[in-house]
Symmetry: none
DNA sequence: CAAAAAAGAACTAAAGTAGAACAAATTTTG
DNA sequence: CAAAATTTGTTCTACTTTAGTTCTTTTTTG
């Protein structure tokens, strides 16, 4: 069919002739296409004529005729097709499964050697999510058991009362209820057998907020 | 008719020309079809021209034109498309969402007015599943909280210790731990505040076994 | 192992860009 | 109206970039 420049020129000629009833001059075309010399236009016109998109009367001024245009789909249709394709692709989203939490390793450190967990698109459409396997019983009173899968929204923003993934001293990641007290951060377990950890705020980094718990039996 | 590669290339050319009005270059086609060398494209184009699917001006850049499209897809393409479609369909399965349990209504009775819950295919591939919203706190010690979503495998077969959906007297459906004792069925809550219900076996009907618990925060 | 497909490299050609000289057409004007 | 002026189109050269062709070698595959 055409090269980019040929296409651009053809569309310009078509537009001008439709609008004004007469062909553009070489200099007008030169400007429109963005060249500094007319010779380029001449070459382009020759190419267009060779491909039978225009006809021109040689040695006549402003004597071009658009014979045909490349047939293409309207933008709207193309975009609609893309949307539909996306809707299908979005049926599930694979979120990274980072392994166990409370394993004493920052989450970034294990971010590569991951498997993936397919999640329904609706559940994880807004934001970055990842999954962790819960280890230990420190949250049983919140209905979070050893072996449960936690779906975490990756964000440093959390409110008091949220259950969060907290990284302490860049070392140890745990899932706890968040409670900020002045310059301290309290990591509150949901199990009377455990104690609240009260830490200086700068020692704690929030790596995400609990969005869902999934537990599989058998 | 056409080989897989020829078909793929033809469709690519068609798509690009329709979308942009310009022909793709050899390198673009090379990438699209998945070759590492342009010579292969040349061969494919020659074949396509021989079969009169395209016209090309030799020794001109981006001067291809699609003359016609094939009526039939190569078998390989059909199979590939099916595979991809299946992969997407399998990505999630919609399982029926029957509403609340412990609502005192047999599950069949509400089986029609349902919404659906998309579940990753892997989780619900073997068997018939449905979802229920858990109501009440009778199972909190098993980490099942009020408002949790229970994914149930529809089956009358359950083992001692399984958490099941039990229908009592064809009336009242509850989620409890199962314990069979001789001719009795015990429905064991997981909350010290509740009492075990000991029922004659014929009064109890198992409607499913708990497969998963899903809980969403916020 | 032979035919087909693909890769790779070398080569050739076209496209794009620019500038200038020139020729033909068109318009202006004396 | 005809010469002059001006606009417009053509052609040539030169150079860079992009693209297409062809041939040989390698790999794949039936």
């Amino acid at each position: 069919m055409l090269t980019e420049k040929q296409y651009k020129l053809l569309m310009f000629i078509n537009k001008i002739t439709k609008e004004t009833g007469c062909s553009p001059s070489f200099d007008e075309m030169r400007t429109a296409v963005g060249l500094k010399s007319k010779s380029g236009i001449h070459a382009l016109l020759t190419a267009l004529e060779e491909r039978e998109f225009i006809k021109k009367l040689p040695h006549k001024a402003r004597a071009l005729e658009v014979v045909r245009l490349p047939k293409f789909k309207p933008r709207a249709i193309i975009e609609e097709e893309k949307k539909r394709e996306n809707a299908l692709l979005n049926a599930t989203v694979n979120i990274p499964f980072y392994g166990k939490i409370a394993a004493g390793v920052p989450i970034e450190a294990i971010a590569d050697e991951t498997s993936f967990l397919p999640m329904p698109f609706e559940m994880v459409s807004n934001g970055q999510f990842y999954a962790l396997k819960v280890e230990g019983d420190s949250m049983v009173d919140a209905g979070i058991l050893d072996g449960d899968t936690a779906i975490i929204r990756q964000t440093p923003m959390a409110n008091n009362g949220d259950i969060v993934v907290a990284l302490v001293d860049n070392q140890e990641a745990t899932l706890k209820k968040l409670q900020r007290k002045e310059k301290e951060v309290w990591l509150v377990p949901c199990n009377k057998a455990y104690e609240v950890r009260k830490l200086r705020a700068d020692r704690v980094q929030i790596q995400g907020v609990l969005k869902s718990i999934i537990r599989n039996y058998h």
